[in-house]
């Protein structure tokens, strides 16, 4: 059986190699790759090194992330059925606060970048939705599987969820928000969100 496995894997690898040279990765993957490369470039830019450049670096990363992440879609999905009870002002406020929280979380994650490798593993497209699976190899040789979910909006692929090792960010926040809203209220949620965003910056 092992022998068979080996033969099959050699075969698959050679076929994949051939296929890769013919066709390229799809559009959603290219969008993710572009944003990732841009962020890595900012993080490794010698002109932006050092703690006195923290602000500028963060600002540039923020810009790159904002271009690719659809905060509204994320907010809609995390609030789920509570979304339609919100007034337009409330929605706007929520998108702003939640977006900032996510931005900061993402920033904290990438700030520690130390030469991790990013491999583009798989892409699935269905209509205007897509999943791009990525593998991050850390310097301790651990593999982290990340999947970006994207939706096509006005011709651009925008990220609306990230899952890390099968844990979806949107689902995780939805559970937390639901729990807070069942225990207390939407206002309490907003208050906690605000103190989280403002308190720790």
């Amino acid at each position: 059986m092992l022998c068979k496995r080996l033969i099959i894997s050699v075969f698959v690898i050679s076929v994949m190699g051939a296929a890769a040279s013919v066709s390229m990765a799809g559009e959603p993957t290219e969008y993710i790759r572009k944003t990732t490369d841009k962020i890595i470039e900012i993080l490794t830019d010698p002109a932006l090194k050092g703690s006195d450049k923290d602000r500028e670096r963060a600002q540039q990363i923020r810009k790159a992330v904002d271009e690719r992440f659809d905060w509204e879609e994320m907010s809609k999905r995390t609030l789920a059925r509570h979304w339609k009870d919100r007034t337009p002002q409330e929605r706007e406020e929520f998108i702003m606060l939640f977006g900032r929280l996510l931005e900061r979380t993402y920033l904290d994650k990438v700030e520690g970048y130390s030469g991790e490798k990013v491999l583009y593993a798989e892409e699935k497209v269905e209509g205007s939705y897509a999943v791009v699976a990525v593998k991050i190899i850390t310097k301790e040789e651990t593999e982290i599987r990340v999947a970006y979910r994207l939706k096509k909006k006005e011709g651009e692929w925008m990220v609306y969820d990230i899952s890390i090792e099968g844990v979806s960010l949107v689902n995780n926040y939805r559970k937390q928000f639901q729990s807070i809203m069942t225990r207390s209220s939407y206002d309490d949620l907003i208050q906690r969100l605000r103190s989280k965003v403002e308190g720790e910056e």
Partner: protein, 297 residues
């Protein structure tokens, strides 16, 4: 080591037949062939997929995004494409929640583990990290990973994943010899035989046993009734427990393994807490989603 620990947790499991056992009977009654027969029948083909089919009767499994039914609908109504999220299933249904009847106790242990991390594990891990170079720490991690092969191998076997079982056996032979008692993961580097991410909890899930309810255990962290049972079963399969019988020495080895692994992940828990509005709920859900994903694979 944990003779008393084992009996205690087994007692808990036995006292909960409602949670664990009716479903396995159901699964077996539904499917016709016994696990052994089924395993025998499909030995040559893609083992685990077929066995999974045989046992998935009456069990809710998450559907893949590319299932046929959806694809058909798509063909019928191309114009509606924009409105349908093909992965909508992932945002509802079985993903939703895990029962947590012992929440007050779990929250107390969550706080305990949190303090343990910040007051003990993190300082010790940080100091250890400064003393032991990265290469050394990777070797030690590999050693412990290699040691508990029987847990992964048996879990593969129970799920009919014969390829995974064979990979684990080859890995151990290669790594224990050419890899100097497992300090080097030669099998992964040279043969691309990766560690099989399997444990008994996943094997139980394969036979249709639900998670039961959520548990946050002191020192061990997030778990469920089923996964705790799997962990206890793992004690019988862990060579460490046969090699080191003295309780405190055994705990010492486990602690060392834990500190070593922690030294590679300092900062992760902090980031997790910083991003969460309710870290307890965030952890519970993350564990749930993570396990669902592992079980599915």
């Amino acid at each position: 080591m944990a003779a008393s620990m084992k009996s205690i947790v087994f007692l808990i499991i036995l006292l909960n037949p409602l949670v664990a056992f009716p479903r396995i009977h159901e699964a077996i009654a539904d499917s016709g062939p016994t696990p052994v027969e089924a395993a025998f029948l499909v030995r040559e083909t893609q083992g685990h997929e077929l066995i999974r089919l045989a046992f998935s009767e009456g069990r809710a499994t998450r559907e893949g995004p590319m299932n046929n039914e959806k694809a058909d609908q798509r063909g019928d109504a191309e114009t509606a494409l924009d409105e349908v999220d093909p992965w909508e299933d992932d945002y509802s249904g079985s993903m939703d929640a895990i029962p947590d009847p012992l929440e007050p106790m779990n929250r107390a242990f969550f706080v305990f583990n949190d303090k343990m991390y910040f007051w003990v594990l993190k300082p010790v891990g940080t100091g250890y990290k400064m003393v032991v170079p990265e290469v050394g720490r990777i070797c030690i991690r590999n050693f412990f990973t290699n040691l508990v092969m029987p847990i992964r191998a048996v879990s593969c076997l129970l799920q009919g994943k014969f390829d995974g079982f064979a990979i684990e056996l080859v890995r151990t032979v290669v790594n224990t010899t050419a890899g100097f008692l497992g300090f080097q993961d030669v099998a992964a580097q040279a043969l691309d035989f990766q560690v099989q991410d399997e444990d008994l909890g996943q094997a139980f899930a394969f036979y249709g046993i639900g998670p039961g309810f959520y548990l946050n255990l002191p020192f061990l962290g997030p778990s469920t009734l089923r996964d705790t049972a799997g962990w206890v079963g793992g004690l019988y399969l862990n060579p460490l427990d046969y090699m080191v019988e003295d309780f405190w020495t055994n705990v010492g080895f486990r602690t060392f393994d834990m500190v070593n692994r922690t030294s590679m992940r300092i900062g992760e828990y902090e980031a997790f807490k910083k991003a969460a509005l309710d870290p307890y709920v965030a952890m519970r859900d993350a564990y749930h989603q993570y396990r669902l994903n592992q079980i599915e694979e």
